[in-house]
């Protein structure tokens, strides 16, 4: 479903005299439909950047990301028009990090129900399903209608995860979504993500905790430290 070919990312910082910084060593990997791949490697090897390239938050500098859509058509996410990418994000590709970036004055259930409503589910139905999911994630009932900006870090992360999985995306990109969760919550998250796996969601993920990583991934891709000469190369 996903074939990454020689993907690389170089940041050009114009304000520093067009200084170039490499994001990660060029990567190539494949993920079959319904399979899960973990990116693993020391910090600074650009795991998050790779995920962001897949989601198009970063524009890749070279290489390709071939993605086979639900309709069977294969597109290159590096070159896909913006509007098509927006459409894929709404219908097929989900992304979740440890940081909840949500709007103020929107209740927890509404935040979680949002992507569902985007796929055409009725408001009431979506809220109902969000409530069930949040309860499973042990969000206390009195918080369901509260604004998550006021929540603790752990609660915010659970809201974030719920929002990412409620609509069962075809491809889910995870970047350390459980970073500061307690053990009990992590177990529930693993359970939920495994349910998604069984339902056929493909995943590319970053988990620092080896136990979580092994519990969720079919295979592991090792990212490597950016070599000194590569930096010199890009400065040339």
């Amino acid at each position: 479903m996903l074939r990454v070919n020689n993907l690389s990312k170089t940041f050009t910082i114009h304000n520093l005299g067009a200084k170039e910084i490499s994001g990660f060593r060029p990567v190539s990997f494949e993920v079959a439909t319904g399979k899960t791949l973990a990116l693993s490697g020391p910090s600074g090897t650009g795991k998050s950047s790779i995920i962001k390239c897949l989601y198009r938050t970063y524009l890749a500098t070279s290489g390709s990301i071939e993605y086979t859509m639900a309709n069977g058509e294969t597109v290159n996410l590096v070159k896909l028009p913006d509007t098509e990418m927006v459409r894929l994000r709404q219908r097929e590709i989900g992304y979740v990090t440890q940081f909840l970036r949500v709007l103020p004055r929107v209740s927890a259930t509404e935040i979680v129900a949002g992507p569902l409503i985007g796929t055409g589910v009725s408001y009431d139905d979506a809220i109902q399903r969000a409530t069930v999911l949040l309860r499973r994630l042990r969000i206390p009932d009195e918080l369901l209608d509260a604004y998550p900006v006021t929540f603790s870090g752990g609660e915010q992360q659970r809201i974030n995860i719920a929002r990412a999985i409620i609509w069962k995306p075809r491809l889910l990109l995870l970047d350390e979504p459980t970073a500061s969760l307690d053990k009990g919550s992590i177990e529930i998250v693993i359970e939920l993500l495994n349910e998604l796996r069984q339902q056929g969601t493909t995943m590319v993920m970053i988990f620092h905790d080896p136990d979580v990583m092994h519990a969720l991934s079919d295979s592991i891709y090792l990212t490597q430290t950016i070599q000194e000469e590569e930096c010199c190369e890009c400065n040339r």
Partner: protein, 287 residues
């Protein structure tokens, strides 16, 4: 959900103030850091702007004062006549769509433009004086748009005005009061109610929160976001404020000196800006 065909496609939108000469376009723009032609003195408010707005999406245009972003939105609303460019509409709402289809609506008579505006557009200006009649009741301001659309029942219009004011969190008890007595935030909310009254296909927001207190700003933004989702109206947001762009839009265009320097998904523009100007803009906003 994005549908493939845009409801509005604009190409080569151009507006200049002055006589214009052969050098105008090549001697202005972000590469020169100016929008005034050094040869003939003409100001190029904007040039060669292409954009497409898809159903239900929120497109942002960000840039500093004088970047030409407000000129773009005002040309689309026919407030300013474009000197060049093509705007095609595919709203599926205008009865005369067959006449509108594949036509450059910029070339329509002001009567034709007015009909299009009344049928498919709503606008909220930075300055409420531009969007509201300050001496006419808030309800009357909304009724005016309904009257334009051919409504002729006072009771129905009052019901709809009350509903819209309620949605935009203006106390219905103040419906018969003139907006000149209202606070800035409330005036903006009346403007929003007015803009949405004809169920537009395209909502144009021109610096709507600029000049409001921060807390009031947040409320207005929340309201816009809520209504935008609820009414599924395609929206063009013009703002110099990256916070507004981040909160409301999915795609963003960056303008400088009358030109588009960069366009992309909003999170990409904010996290991986490509153009030197966008990088400067983003780093200035975040630090």
């Amino acid at each position: 959900m994005l549908i493939k065909n845009p409801i509005l496609t604009a190409t080569n939108l151009t507006k200049r103030y002055g006589p214009g000469c052969a050098k105008c376009l090549e001697q202005t723009g972000p590469d020169y850091g100016r929008n005034q032609c050094p040869v003939c003195g003409t100001v190029i408010a904007c040039a060669g702007v292409d954009l497409a707005i898809h159903p239900q999406e929120v497109l942002g245009v960000v840039g500093e004062s004088g970047s030409g972003k407000s000129t773009v939105i005002k040309m689309l609303h026919f407030d300013i006549d474009a000197d060049d460019g093509h705007v095609g509409l595919h709203t599926g709402k205008i009865e005369t769509d067959n006449r509108v289809r594949n036509q450059n609506v910029l070339k329509f008579s002001s009567f034709g433009k007015r009909q299009i505006r009344n049928a498919v557009m709503g606008i909220v200006y930075q300055n409420p004086h531009l969007g509201l009649r300050m001496n006419i009741s808030a309800g009357g301001n909304i009724a005016e748009r309904l009257l334009m659309a051919g409504w002729r029942n006072v009771g129905d219009m009052r019901k709809r005005s009350a509903m819209l004011l309620d949605k935009t969190e203006v106390p219905i008890s103040r419906m018969d009061e003139a907006p000149r007595n209202f606070s800035g935030g409330m005036q903006q909310r009346v403007q929003i109610a007015k803009a949405l009254s004809n169920e537009p296909v395209l909502l144009l927001l021109d610096e709507v929160t600029t000049g409001l207190d921060v807390s009031v700003q947040a409320r207005v933004l929340d309201l816009i976001r809520k209504l935008q989702q609820e009414m599924d109206v395609a929206t063009l947001v013009v703002s110099h404020d990256l916070g507004v762009i981040r909160m409301l839009t999915t795609r963003t265009m960056v303008m400088k000196n009358g030109r588009v320097v960069e366009a992309g998904l909003t999170d990409q523009i904010l996290e991986d800006p490509q153009h030197p100007y966008t990088q400067l803009l983003v780093s200035s906003a975040l630090h």
